[in-house]
């Protein structure tokens, strides 16, 4: 049987969203970014908000997010995406604005920007990909690197006495009154992807309803940085990351009114 015999309308059970650009991704095999890009694209498509959306890309592996999701994008300086998004949303309150950031970008160099944007309750969605490592620069320790985890700058494993504690920034964010919905998800199997998509949808809807900041962490793998196969990386994440970063909603105030002006 030839491939042409298979690709027929009657056999079509799944197709990618038009919002996902038809191109080869630069992400490594097993990387979580591709999956999150896919479900974000699907949601932007399904919710009919492509024309109204402005994304803010981080510095990190997702720096090229604009090559994959077909909306208007701005590329921010390292860690500054929440400030950039603030500028967009304050002067364009009718737009759906989201930032897409990794853990080095959001929890280290951009810690001030994310805390203050969330505390002001900027009406935007934050997608936070946490793989406990700086992926793009070659696997250095991030603030989220868990105790004992081996990285290129903690070759003997993270040493709390030397490097301090891993930071649960999502728990900090959940304390801030400006946030309406704060959740921690993952995307390592079909069930997790479906749950993650539901959370992202709720976050987007909250922003459309002007409820302030919605913050979705996705605990992720970095096969290349962790130096594991994708399958082993998923197993390692489940066994080591999930106990420290438990999945689930930290705050769901989506039904409460938001006092933020924007």
């Amino acid at each position: 049987m030839d491939i042409k015999d298979i690709i027929k309308p009657e056999n079509l059970v799944y197709q990618k969203s038009d919002v996902q650009i038809d191109t080869i991704m630069h992400y490594c095999p097993g990387c979580t970014h591709g999956v999150v890009h896919k479900i974000l694209s699907e949601l932007i498509d399904e919710m009919g908000i492509q024309e109204n959306t402005v994304g803010v890309a981080p510095v990190g592996c997702a720096v090229f997010a604009y090559n994959y999701i077909d909306v208007d994008w701005q590329e921010a300086a390292h860690g500054r995406a929440p400030a950039v998004a603030t500028g967009i949303v304050r002067t364009n309150p009718d737009k759906f604005v989201f930032t897409y950031q990794g853990d080095g970008d959001l929890a280290s160099i951009g810690a001030a920007e994310i805390l203050h944007a969330c505390n002001r309750g900027e009406n935007m969605l934050v997608v936070f990909i946490n793989n406990g490592i700086y992926g793009m620069t070659g696997g250095q320790m991030a603030p989220t690197t868990i105790d004992g985890m081996v990285t290129s700058t903690t070759p003997g494993g993270r040493d709390i006495a030397l490097n301090g504690y891993p930071m649960k920034i999502t728990e900090l964010i959940a304390q801030l009154p400006g946030t309406s919905y704060v959740t921690r998800q993952s995307a390592q199997n079909a069930g997790a992807v479906r749950k993650c998509k539901r959370s992202l949808k709720k976050g987007i809807q909250n922003v459309l309803d002007k409820k302030g900041t919605s913050f979705i962490e996705v605990v992720s793998t970095c096969s290349s940085g962790w130096k594991m196969t994708p399958v082993a990386a998923n197993r390692w994440m489940e066994e080591n990351m999930f106990p420290f970063y438990p999945l689930g909603d930290l705050k769901d105030g989506s039904k409460e009114p938001n006092l933020s002006k924007n």
Binding site: T53, V71, W73, E75, V84, G87, A112
Partner: protein, 362 residues
Amino acid sequence: MGELRLMKGNEVLAEAAIRCGCDGYFGYPITPQSEIMETLMVRQPWDETGMVVLQAESEIASINMVYGAAATGKKVMTSSSSPGISLMAEGISYIAGAELPCLFVNVVRGGPGLGTIQPSQADYFQSVKGGGHGDYKCIVLAPASVQEMNDFVGLGFELAFKYLNPALILTDGAIGQMMEKVELADYKPRWTKEEIQKYSGKWATTGKPNSRKQNVVTSLEMDSDKMEANNRRFQEKYKKMEEEEVRFETIMCDDAEYIMVAFGTSARICQKSVEIAREQGIKVGLLRPITLFPFPKKEIAKLTCHVKGFLSVEMSAGQMVEDIKLAVHESGCNVRVEHFGRMGGIIPSPNEVVDALKEKFL
């Protein structure tokens, strides 16, 4: 004639921003320019024109808010003073690299470090040579009066949008804090969505309709051939600014044997110094660069072959003097270029400048 008021330089910046149809101001308090944001917060322009005013958590956040809003085609600005501008340098480099229009104001104080809150011109190099990383230039306007503080807000935005480049008003605590009579500009409405589409629709991230490709605002280009091409485009732009946007003022230069070159507060001092020197029979003129980048090097070169010397008067250890020397060198004539300056927040007196001129040249 427009409305006349007696106002502080810093207050005028705020008033001029509202009147010129500015869409947003993002700032962080720092002396000696906090009155800009304070004036805006008292005026509450969001009720009047819809202009957004937001106090950010840092200068780093302010300039990145400017980046975000500017990238949607909005007319936005920030202001700070020296240490704050250093923090913004990263963002300004990104704005220049992404070719976004915006206005920022540096009400300079004495440095280095935390320095002092008194006026200074020691941020000249940082302002005219780029300031952050990479090969870029900002358009730099140097007001010498409260009236020019008013006028350069509109002009700054005009030039920023003409060249898709950050424009900087470089002033200091003296002009920011002093009160003078000022004729305010008439109100211009903020741009409508249609006007933004018309002026900036090709690149602004306003949401992607089916009718066009996505707009992406970035300073990133992994292909170094393309990055070099981007740099060539920037350099062409800066060259065009040098050809078309030079602004300066000359006072009593026609018969002058010696030319003082000074901008901003120093130029105000030198105006008096010229008078004093002329009373003593010394033929002195003043050249006041209004744009510091582009620098009036052709005008300096033109004067070079007719004068005996230039005295650069700056509230710094001597920074602009280097640009004067370059301009003189390019003229082919050889005259002496000297510098006189005070540092650390000291403003020289007019007599001090005349004495320096006599000591160096007579």
